[in-house]
Subunit: 601 residues, 2 copies
């Protein structure tokens, strides 16, 4: 890589800063960035051409020497790579001035300096004079065809910039050699009784992916690989580090010159690196604290637009691996960091972009996360966003169940439901729906309370992994048909939907569904502080107790007879908040809660 | 300002880059940034303290000399300001190591190195030893009170960091001296017949604000002040520029050492500058191309969260001026730039944050923009987002009408409606609603077609300026009551809503409204290219012809008898697209369209 800064001095309406500081400062800056800068400067094309050729030759020779030295000695140290600052006028060789205003070598050449072609003969004269400067009579024959000697100069085949496979990375892309994700499965005998750190399990899967694809996969994260529990990868590769080493780095810093884990506390840089890496035909994963994914909103937007255009309008471009984004350290478990770290809105942005290129998954447990991750790593041409927390969470599905559930993307959990238990098929009285790991636990706990308090109540439990299942099939390729939606959610029964993100996102996705007003959604509503998990859930009303109250308020059968249960729920809320306030942690009934039923009705 | 880089060497789990490059590179970097760096480094607190005191004294003296020289000579040139790199160990004076692992001077001290207070006596011992190192017996008396000699050292009154008015800028905030915005009014005799560049008119208002508040207001924009038509401000102040000048800068570059227009092609930097400026008690406006507002999503999020916390939990903090954001060069007029410049989703983000601190305005014309801007410049404690395009647009309301309309935030435009024309009050057959300058024109044009083709059809025309009027009053302080909403939109008539942004945002805001399924929304749906304005509108179906078809499809009275009109609309769409494709511009019927009725029924 040989960086060239084309310092032409101007932007659309201003000088650039680097062109208006002293040469000494400019050189200092690039030395400070670790380069050896070379300046190529001039206004005479013929001279600058020769000068540039000579400097390029020098730089390439230097790069080769650095490489040779490292290969011969086996010592890989950070060299001072060369870089070039090319100082030529903006709008070089164009008209020097137009209408008495400087154009060449000035910001005005960024604009449309001769814009009056219909009405101003002087502008036409300038255009003709400028184009004549290229001496077309020497370049084309009488029929206007490029002369053969020039045509011959152009490179052929894959040497043409437009046909170079390096610039069309999908052509050289190799599938990942993926281990079987089922081998990392968490054993689940009775649902909702075992706890595991979900992303840690994914860390072991990633470890083996990186071992089996040692030149083809990189992991990108802002100083959070260990925090997000993906540190099992360090068993096979370290964090890339080219600056100085100290002896103490050997004790846990996990740094190495050839590490394939890219850590830098700059989400922009990481996202840019990953995009570039994918464009070369390779694979990767970007992970970040959920709230700070907004730092890359604009970059995500542009990549999604680019994917959409490639898919629909650029048939020659071969698909590249999907941009895989894992959002962890989620809104609901920011006990130490608080309000500033609570923002589940990145997926709102994602749902604004083309349905053809966007996918959002919220796996409820580790086995689902494995199944979803495997699917994402095999795909091309998408932005896949996976939301999964790093803390200990209850596990619900066996690996076989997880594969089926994630393949459907949405489904009834029979073991949590009781509306299919009688000898005759029955309609549910209420549908308890959920999406996201933490809301799923709260929804299950609410379902357990409802079933214990009202054993005659028919409850259906639905979990959503693939968010876009909620949209109609006309709007997203993953969308459920209205028939499927209505047979899952019924056309008219109350739905108490507990959501990981902002609640209105569910309304945005379901507003076309039958009787959408009976879908009652809970989610994050910007109520947060340095709270215990249950406090935070209660503040935003996604907790088990508020969900039970929501069901009582909406199920006609649970009229005023349910008043006692509602009172008990309110008492529980008050007692939980008081306990958390006093002790700084949640009550053991919450932290040790398990699903109280077995798999049968 | 004396910047101090505390280079303690580590982040949460990694060394920092600047601590692991050579001193020469480090010094070069800060020289390249334009500073004279001074290094203060050491591990012995007593020595570093003396060294730091001496260097601080030097730096302050240097700063004073630079200032004195500039004031005496009257020559303001960019000096090499001093800055300090302070290199001390991370976790300085804490335990050197814990459990055999290095802690002081290592990343481990970022974490919780002695976390086992309940179970590990060695951790307790280390903690006690560390705290004893501060020699509490010399600091406190027998009752645990700070000894008087030390208490005496603390600064008093406003010299206390917590009570310094400079750190609580609202205390020193002065109201802007605002000119009367009505004086910049565009004359509107017949609505929809005169064209004006909306933001240009605001530019004249801004010019006089900056003239009347020469030390209290700054304008921030990424190299787009002229592009966004706010360049009238250059008559009173220029762009701040501290680097070198060239003679040609005098011809249109609008640069000066003391300019109060802050231009830099970095939305982050601008947003940060403006936030900092507001926190000192001053005022400002940040403007940007609409699509690139996403660059500051994360910064907006944090500022909105901060405002929310201040409002509800920090009673001593005095309100600062609102963060005013103008989004111009909007999605619908990106004829030259295309798909990458089309993204109206910043306001989606804004609607996720606390209703207490967020406001979104989409003024349909220049007089409304003036009224809205004046309101925003007087407010404190909000993020105000104004969406207004820079191109020529039709003008609809006189200044008096605009003030009333913007104060209500939403209203019926009687001159465009015909459902109140009979002698008896009548229900409308259809409500044509709109929000945003360009959608308003298309909605009006559709209304004109409907009224011309079906003179017996009762059409009500509603324009929304204040987006949050659409939410229920329970959700946002600006929200309309259901009674007001239903009397405007009727409880059951079809609403054809033409929106500036993503259509589902309107569903997100209105999903609780009566019979929300009859609200049919058009907006941007990621269909775009380098299109003419009408092409782009048609691709996204916000154009007049598609709106007429929408009305025909939804108004029962306009059954199959309207088939001929529907055919004509389809013909118009095809002819418009063909013309734009052939000529690269829109048909004159579109570009020269004017509202065809006068003010009476």
């Amino acid at each position: 890589m040989l960086p060239i800064l084309h310092l032409n001095g101007y932007k659309i309406a201003n000088p650039t800063i680097l062109s208006r500081i002293s040469q000494e400062e400019l050189i200092s800056l690039f030395r400070g960035y670790g380069y050896t800068p070379y300046i190529v400067a001039g206004e005479d094309p013929a001279q600058v051409h020769q000068q540039m050729a000579a400097v390029l030759e020098d730089c390439v020779t230097q790069i080769r020497q650095i490489q040779m030295h490292a290969r011969q000695t086996g010592i890989a140290e950070r060299p001072r790579w060369p870089m070039i600052v090319l100082r030529t006028p903006k709008g070089w060789t164009g008209p020097k001035s137009v209408d008495g205003h400087k154009v060449e070598g000035f910001w005005r050449s960024h604009q449309v300096p001769m814009g009056e072609m219909h009405s101003n003969p002087e502008h036409v004269r300038l255009l003709v004079e400028w184009l004549r400067g290229y001496r077309p009579e020497e370049l084309f024959d009488q029929n206007g065809r490029l002369i053969p000697e020039l045509k011959e100069l152009a490179p052929k085949g894959a040497r043409r910039m437009s046909a170079n496979p390096i610039a069309n990375g999908g052509l050289v892309r190799k599938e990942l050699n993926l281990p079987d994700f089922r081998e990392y499965a968490v054993a689940v005998d009775i649902p909702g009784t075992v706890e595991v750190e979900n992303t840690k399990v994914m860390g072991f899967f990633l470890r083996d992916i990186m071992a089996q694809n040692p030149t083809n996969f990189r992991l990108f994260g802002p100083d959070e690989t260990a925090s997000n529990r993906l540190n099992p990868v360090y068993a096979v590769t370290k964090k890339a580090w080219m600056a100085d080493f100290l002896p103490e780095d050997l004790d846990g810093s996990e740094l190495s010159r050839d590490g394939r884990v890219m850590e830098m506390l700059s989400e922009h840089t990481l996202e840019g690196w990953l995009e570039g890496y994918l464009l070369t035909g390779r694979h990767g994963l970007f992970h970040t604290y959920e709230a700070f994914a907004h730092v890359i909103d604009s970059m995500f937007n542009q990549h999604a637009k680019w994917l959409d255009i490639c898919r629909h309008h650029v048939p020659w471009r071969a698909p590249v691996s999907s941009l895989n984004i894992l959002l962890s350290s989620v809104v609901w478990r920011q006990d130490h960091n608080g309000f500033s770290h609570q923002d589940p809105g990145f997926i709102d942005l994602v749902t604004n972009k083309s349905a053809e290129v966007t996918r959002v998954y919220l796996p409820p447990d580790a086995n689902c996360l494995l199944s979803v991750a495997d699917h994402c790593f095999r795909s091309t041409g998408y932005v896949n966003v996976i939301v999964a927390d790093k803390q200990n969470h209850l596990q619900y599905l066996t690996m076989d169940e997880a594969v089926v559930h994630c393949t459907k993307g949405i489904g009834i959990w029979e073991w949590a439901s009781n509306d299919d238990c009688g000898s005759e098929p029955d309609e549910p009285d209420v549908v308890m729906a959920c999406c996201g790991d933490i809301p799923t636990m709260e929804s299950l706990a609410a379902t357990a309370i409802l079933r214990q308090e009202f054993p005659w109540l028919k409850v259906r439990f639905i979990n959503v992994v693939d968010l876009f299942k909620l949209q109609p099939e006309s709007e997203h390729p993953h969308g459920l048909s209205d028939r499927d939606f209505n047979s899952l959610f019924t056309p008219d029964k109350p739905v108490i939907f507990n959501f990981h993100g902002y609640p209105w996102l569910i309304h945005k996705l379901t507003y076309r569904r039958t009787n959408q007003e009976r879908i009652h959604v809970r989610g994050y509503k910007e109520e947060g502080n340095i709270n215990t998990p249950l406090q935070l859930a209660i503040e935003n009303q996604i907790d088990r107790f508020n969900l039970v109250i929501d069901a009582i308020d909406r199920v006609p059968k649970l009229g005023s007879a349910a008043a006692y249960v509602k009172e008990r729920m309110k008492n529980q809320i008050i007692e939980s908040l008081n306990y958390a306030y006093t002790h700084g942690i949640d009550r053991p009934e919450f932290t040790e809660w398990k699903w109280p039923f077995d798999r049968s009705c």
